[in-house]
């Protein structure tokens, strides 16, 4: 019996190409539906596929919401995430959300097929399959960025995107004083004294990725800020 899969991606050209690729390979995969993220949840609920292959190229907050809704729509489906993000923090955070595979889009379609096959061989497997560029994995150290809490890292991503304290507070639904406290903790933990130093170190250690920062443009929220945060 073929593996029944749903493919979610907002880029139609890529999605259709991948559907065509998965459908034509020797692998026993039947793509029973595909859609953009917005329309996906009803489709998943309706088809309850074995595997949901989903693009996750959004910030963690939105990623969590997408994954929660997928789980809600079909609790037993295995979830394969396709992403352009290649930083350790993102892998860790998504892994905690119970995904079954994390596939960077620099992987080949053959690797994607192999991952789906591996997941199906272990229906109750508890491991997460990760396929990432070797260089990214090799550069991921145990530097001080690893000591940041999830909340602090989230603040740091906003800082790297050029947000002011006020903008960060608004987007994260926090008081501006709380954002300042998080920033002070970040500076102390990683041994820096400015926003730009913190951003540089986070990028250097690959704790956050360029794709995460530039995603702000796609969200339509980019904005400039000076070194003092205003």
């Amino acid at each position: 019996m073929p593996v029944r899969a749903i493919l979610i991606d907002d880029h139609i050209m890529f999605r259709e190409g991948l559907v065509s690729t998965l459908g034509s390979r020797q692998a026993d995969i039947e793509v029973v539906g595909h859609s953009s993220t917005g329309e996906a949840f009803a489709l998943i609920r309706e088809t309850t596929p074995d595997v949901v292959i989903t693009q996750i190229d959004v910030d963690l907050h939105k990623a969590k919401e997408v994954l929660r809704r997928i789980r809600e729509a079909s609790p037993d489906s295995r979830i394969v995430v396709l992403t352009i993000f290649d930083n350790l923090r993102y892998v860790q955070a998504l892994s905690k959300l119970g995904i079954d595979a994390y596939i960077h889009k620099t992987s080949s379609t053959r690797e994607l097929v192999a991952t789906i096959e591996a997941l199906m061989r272990e229906p109750r497997g508890e491991n997460t399959v990760v396929s990432m560029p070797r260089g990214s994995l090799e550069r991921m150290g145990d530097g001080p960025m690893g000591t940041l809490s999830e909340r602090e890292t989230e603040v740091l991503v906003h800082v790297a995107r050029g947000r002011s304290n006020y903008q960060i507070a608004t987007e994260m639904h926090l008081a501006e004083s709380t954002v300042k406290r998080h920033l002070a903790n970040i500076y102390q933990k990683v041994g820096v004294s400015s926003r730009s130093e913190a951003t540089r170190l986070a990028l250097q250690e690959m704790w956050i990725g360029i794709a995460e920062i530039t995603q702000a443009d796609l969200d339509g929220n980019a904005g400039g800020v000076s070194e003092d945060g205003h």
């Binding site: 880029h11 890529f14 190409g17 991948l18 065509s20 690729t21 352009i84 960077h104 620099t106 080949s108």
Partner: protein, 62 residues
Amino acid sequence: MRVLIVLTPLMCREAIAHSLSQHRPYLEVRIAAPEATEEELRSFAPHLLVHTDTDGLDRAAL
């Protein structure tokens, strides 16, 4: 007609090349990494190049 696809990342390159081959089987479609573009332009001599406009390809190579 020869088509060279040098989009990134690899999964997008493969998916689009596959789709193109399926819908237009008479096309000769080849994929390559962006860094191999100039070499492929010389050896494959494509009629059409599909690349990302921000990949820094030297126009003089075309």
